[in-house]
């Protein structure tokens, strides 16, 4: 069966064995058997009744009571085993979910940092949130249902066939007929084109809704909401017409299916009558016919429960394949014999790199044969126009991605030969996108070095210019971040992340000159903080404002993924090349101000 694939893959991902599910199945079967006891009781009471039909006062009350009691016992036994069965299947389900979540999170922790940008973690989150909810519903409820239904139906038919072959055949035949009608409607070629049209239409309206909502603020600003609304309105209407047609299409099939299942007795009774007409005095046969009349309607009820299974199965397969796509991302390769550097200069040796996911951006900032070296304990700046590859080069140092060709070395050791933990201990990086945990400010700084003493944490906060604003908070360092605590401004967040880096005190620092949030005061504080941070470190800075790196030991000018020039500020200015041109533009923009010409009256 096709759905085995999705489910067994799910079990495989979650590392869950089938034991619990099997146990659940066995218990469900036992439970189903118990639940048949009341029917058996009803049958036996009927048999008793038949004996004394003409004169019920001669009935043996004790036998009737006995069967009434058995019906009750069967019910209790059935419910109890059902409880055990659902507990087993639910436990299995929740364990699968747990395994799924944990393994996915574990895997994500091993991926390249480059993969873990905000967009892709967003996608991972979405996958987990949207698909896991559906998977949860499926394994926690539908699997148990499914197990129960199969068990009930199996037992039911086993008993039926052991009672009377022909009537059992009539029952099962009718059920199969019902499902054939249903599936011929659902799976014929016409149904397939219908299905495709339906999914296309669904996709269209989904896209339309996203565009409508996402663009709403922009549309509003240009006063075009009516236009945009009309378009969306039309799409909704079209979709609605589509699904209405869709349900019309399935009407006959579905209603016929229901009719057949509701009228199972219309199939069973004639067979019974036929058998009776040949042997009109056979009391046992008569009772068998009555037994079928009691039991047969029960054959369809459980099947309703799993009617929508195929639709959910499609969702589950889709969900599993999305989750699999994350698992397919290769983790960072760890070296077999990790080495540790003893010096901390950084060298790029003919580094070539290209992004292997071209669909994410039409402009692939790639590097080709980039070589330069950043001396230990000095500042090296990477500059260049946007798209020149300066950010890419910096991102390769903490192994956001691995180089295609060439090598990056720290103290002569290829970073790919370093254990990830050692590399991370060696390199700090401070980027514009900062992240604070939902935790106290103290804990957020201590992240830099978990074994640090409180004094060291405070010292780092002071050095990063955080101490003052933290002290002003009502609970000081114990103030939690986020809900129920404080939301820091962009600049403050940046300084907290600098405090972390100061505490970590790694010998190599990769820095994105981060000034996006800077209002004057923040910028001033940030500069003070950075000054502390870069002391005695090998610093590689991605520079946007040339002014701030004019004292760097070495400035590497990148252009279209290649090193165009290299040298100190003065050397580069003398050279009259790209850097000189950038410096001139930079000086122009720095002097600019909003200004209005005199209004022409």
């Amino acid at each position: 069966m096709k759905n085995e694939k999705g489910l067994s893959r799910l079990l495989e991902i979650a590392g869950e064995r089938k034991g619990l599910l099997l146990l659940s199945g066995v218990l469900a079967t036992v439970s189903a058997a118990f639940f048949l006891v009341p029917y058996l009781a009803a049958y036996n009471v009927l048999a008793e009744l038949l004996k004394y039909w003409k004169d019920p006062r001669n009935l043996e009350g004790a036998i009737l009571l006995k069967w009434g009691f058995y019906a009750f016992l069967g019910l209790l036994g059935g419910l109890f085993t059902l409880f055990l069965s659902t507990m087993a299947s639910h436990t299995a389900a929740f364990r699968i979910l747990y395994g799924l979540r944990v393994r996915l999170a574990e895997h994500v922790g091993k991926l390249h940092l480059g993969y873990l940008t905000s967009t892709s973690t967003g996608a991972v989150k979405k996958t987990l949130e949207q698909n896991v909810e559906k998977i949860e519903l499926f394994i926690a409820h539908q699997i148990p249902d499914f197990v129960n239904v199969v068990a009930t139906v199996a037992i039911l038919f086993f008993i039926m066939f052991s009672m009377n072959f022909w009537m059992a055949l009539a029952t099962i035949g009718a059920v199969i007929l019902g499902f054939l009608i249903q599936s011929s409607m659902m799976f014929g070629t016409r149904a397939n084109t219908m299905m495709k049209a339906y999914y296309d239409s669904l996709e269209r309206i989904n896209a339309s809704a996203i565009q409508y909502v996402r663009g709403m603020s922009a549309v509003k600003i240009f006063g075009r909401t009516v236009f945009s609304f009309r378009k969306f309105h039309r799409d909704i209407q079209e979709y609605s017409d589509m699904v209405t047609r869709f349900t019309d299409q399935f009407q006959t099939g579905f209603v016929l299916f229901r009719t057949v299942l509701v009228s199972l007795l219309a199939f069973v009774l004639p067979v019974g009558v036929l058998l009776l007409s040949r042997d009109p005095h056979n009391v046992a046969l008569g009772l068998t016919v009555i037994f079928f009349l009691i039991l047969a309607p029960g054959a369809s009820a459980p099947l309703y429960k799993i009617m929508y299974l195929s639709a959910t199965m499609r969702d589950i397969n889709e969900g599993v394949s999305r989750i699999d796509a994350i698992f397919r991302q290769p983790p960072v390769k760890e070296p077999e014999n990790p080495r540790k550097p003893s010096r901390y200069d950084v060298t790029f040796e003919k580094v070539s790199f290209s992004y292997n996911a071209p669909e994410t951006s039409t402009r692939i900032a790639a590097l080709s044969e980039v070589s330069f070296s950043a001396p230990q304990g000095a500042v090296t700046a990477l500059v260049g126009p946007s798209g020149s590859g300066k950010s890419t080069a910096a991102n390769l140092i903490p192994r956001f991605w691995d180089v295609d060709q060439g090598a990056i070395r720290i103290g002569g050791v290829d970073i790919r030969d370093m254990a990830t933990e050692d590399l991370m201990d060696t390199v700090s990086f401070v980027f514009q996108d900062t992240f604070l945990f939902y935790d106290s400010l103290y804990e957020n700084i201590r992240v830099g070095r978990p074994e640090a003493t409180p004094e060291e944490v405070y010292a780092a906060a002071k050095a990063a210019q955080c101490h003052d604003f933290i002290s002003r908070l009502p609970k000081g360092y114990d103030t939690p971040i986020g809900q129920g605590g404080v939301y820091l401004s962009g600049g403050e967040e940046q300084r907290v992340s600098v405090a972390r880096a100061i505490l970590k005190n790694a010998p190599v620092l990769v820095l994105d000159e981060a000034t996006a949030f800077a209002d004057p005061e923040n910028e001033h504080h940030m500069q003070q903080a950075l000054k502390e941070l870069i002391r005695n470190k090998t610093v590689i800075v991605i520079a946007h404002r040339l002014h701030s790196i004019r004292e760097a030991r070495n400035i590497v000018v990148l252009s279209e993924g290649k090193v165009a020039e290299e040298g100190s500020h003065e050397e580069l200015l003398r050279r009259e090349g790209l850097y000189k041109k950038m410096w001139e533009i930079y000086s122009d923009t720095a002097a600019w101000s909003f200004r209005k010409k005199e209004r022409v009256a």
């Binding site: 600003i221 909704i236 800077a518």
Partner: protein, 580 residues
């Protein structure tokens, strides 16, 4: 009732028709039951004693009637099918349209503060859940509840004592269900809390994964996440166990009816006050009647889940919309009169008692530390939000009375975030003015310094932009938004100086474009770098939501106040350079 209101997003009457039709089709199903009863009776009569003969002919008639009646059932099922599916899609389509209409009237500030993915999911996903809830589950539930009621009524006509015996435990079960609902709710809430905790931990882990990895914290952070997941798993299992041990005894209780009925029936039969035929009928019904009831209990839980979707939608629809329908004046001064504004009623005001005059055609700059309220002030002008106290006037007329979109047509905004539609670049610029000619578009693009880079693209103005416009650089997107502003040609321009992260050459182009754009218009700009606004007509200094100073650059420097401090700090920063 609340459940039905939520499920139908406020149109409970939509469910009436499918419900009634389902009840009707259930009533139709009584007839075959009677036929079967007749068949059983015939068999009993024919086999009860050796001398009796089986009425085979009669039995064949029963069969024929059963077969023929299938047509009736078939026809009877069609109306509820159509009603429930059409009803469901109608509710969803109308609801979506209603929500879309509502969304477009909400304040811009609200829209910008919400995750658009969330809203889109509400529009599609939540309504899809409702469709399913209304079309599948609700009718099934109705049928499941109605069938036993019909049976109860029918059976009490046959023999009320037996009916009483059969259904006696039912009220007890319902009563038990009622008193245990409280326990389940508390446990459910606890479960929900742990679930949210796990979701938060996951979000933190994923969002912070770069920091987590950079600081070698995958181990400990992961341990925390793992614990949250483990707790969630345990709690889920516990909830299931508690739920099961409550609901199963209740089901057991309700189903005891069959046993009680058999016992009662036996006594009555022995007493001679019950005909065996009635007993027979009760036995046949009694063994079947509890299946739909049990199914209803389970469906009910599922329905609660769908209901949440409706609740979310209703909550969004109760957000107040923007009012006002007056036409805004062509041009005029912008006046703030004692304006106080807060984002949430419980929070400190973001702006306090602001009075400010922005003369027509002037350049006004707003400065101050982050969180001072300068961006908020800017956003009040195009009515992203309405202030709680005081008023804002344009050309002497109250903004609050103006038609929101009409007002927006008078205002161009160049902000940090630029949204590009999934359309060609040309059409994205054309958004500034409906029906603008290609010449006009190119003219605007030239003025905004985007013509050159657009022409370098393979398809020029016909180049499509991706979702959210992710294929252009920040500076390029900004210039596109300036080009839109040129086409729009609105008398008021609002700028958020956001050039800090641009590369020099991009910045130069943006600056040139802005120079042309602001000419001859009323301009309000939020500035971060004081140098850029030193020639503004008025500089307004804000701090903690209050206006602390106002004047020209020279005046403010002379005053030796807050502005002077800021200026000095910035002069220092400007000379700074990274060196060790």
């Amino acid at each position: 009732m609340k459940l039905i209101t939520n499920l139908t997003v406020g149109h409970p009457r939509k469910l009436l028709k499918p419900f009634l039709l389902t009840v009707l089709s259930n009533l139709l199903n009584i007839v075959p039951f009677g036929l079967v009863l007749r068949g059983v009776y015939l068999i009993f009569e024919g086999l009860s004693s050796p001398e009796a003969t089986l009425d085979i002919r009669g039995l064949w008639w029963v069969c024929a009637a059963l077969g023929a009646y299938m047509i009736v059932i078939f026809l009877g099922e069609i109306p509820p099918y159509r009603a429930s599916y059409r009803g469901a899609y109608e509710v969803a389509a109308e609801g979506r349209i209603h929500l879309a209409e509502h969304l477009r009237k909400l304040p811009l500030g609200f829209l910008l503060g919400r995750d658009p993915g969330d809203l889109a999911n509400m529009m599609m996903g939540d309504f899809a859940l409702l469709e399913q809830g209304i079309s599948h589950i609700a009718p099934q539930l109705a049928g499941a509840l109605v069938a036993p009621i019909i049976a109860l009524l029918g059976l009490s006509f046959l023999d009320w004592r037996m009916a009483l015996a059969l259904f006696m435990p039912l009220p007890v079960g319902v009563f038990l269900l009622g008193i245990t609902a409280g326990i389940m709710r508390i446990k459910g809430l606890r479960h929900m809390r742990i679930k949210i905790d796990a979701a938060n931990r996951l979000q933190e882990y994923l969002n912070g994964i770069r920091v987590v990895k950079a600081y070698n914290l995958v181990g400990p952070r992961f341990a925390r996440l793992e614990k949250a997941f483990r707790d969630f798993m345990k709690e889920s299992i516990r909830l299931e166990a508690i739920g099961g041990s409550i609901i199963l005894p209740i089901i057991a209780c309700i189903r005891t009816g069959l046993t009680i009925m058999i016992v009662t029936g036996s006594y009555l039969l022995l007493e001679g006050t019950l005909s065996p035929f009635v007993f027979l009928a009760f036995l046949l019904v009694g063994s079947r009647i509890f299946d739909p009831l049990t199914a209803a209990l389970i469906n009910f839980a599922l329905l609660r889940y769908f209901e949440l979707a409706g609740e979310r939608i209703l909550a969004l629809q109760s957000e107040p919309v923007m009012r006002g329908n007056a036409n805004p004046p062509e041009e005029g001064d912008i006046t703030f009169e004692k304006v106080t504004f807060h984002y949430h009623s419980k929070e400190e005001p973001a702006l306090r008692n602001i009075s400010l005059q922005v003369p027509r055609g002037s350049l006004t700059a707003l400065v101050g530390p982050s969180g001072s309220g300068k961006s908020t002030l800017l956003k009040l002008i195009p009515r992203f939000y309405d202030p709680q106290e005081g008023q804002i006037l344009l050309g002497g007329k109250k903004l609050a009375h103006m038609e929101p979109e009409g007002l927006l047509r008078k205002v161009s905004m160049v902000f940090q975030e630029v949204y590009l539609f999934q359309d060609t670049l040309g059409n994205n610029i054309r958004f500034g003015k409906e029906g603008a000619s290609q010449k006009e578009v190119e003219e605007a693009a030239r003025k905004a310094c985007c013509h050159d880079f657009i022409m370098k693209l393979p398809q020029g103005y016909d180049t499509p932009v991706g979702e959210g416009g992710c294929t252009l650089s920040g500076g390029e997107k900004q210039r596109i938004s300036i080009a839109r502003a040129f086409l729009k040609n609105a008398p008021i321009v609002l700028l958020d100086e956001a050039t800090a992260s641009l590369d020099p050459e991009n910045e130069l182009e943006v600056q040139r474009a802005i120079d042309t754009l602001i000419e001859g218009r009323t301009v309000v700009v939020v500035a971060h770098r004081l140098k850029t606004i030193r020639r503004a007509d008025t500089i307004v200094v804000l701090e903690n939501g209050e206006m602390v100073e106002q004047g020209t650059h020279e005046e403010l420097l002379k005053r030796d106040g807050r502005y002077k401090d800021l200026w000095n700090i910035q002069q220092q920063s400007a000379g700074w350079s990274l060196a060790s």
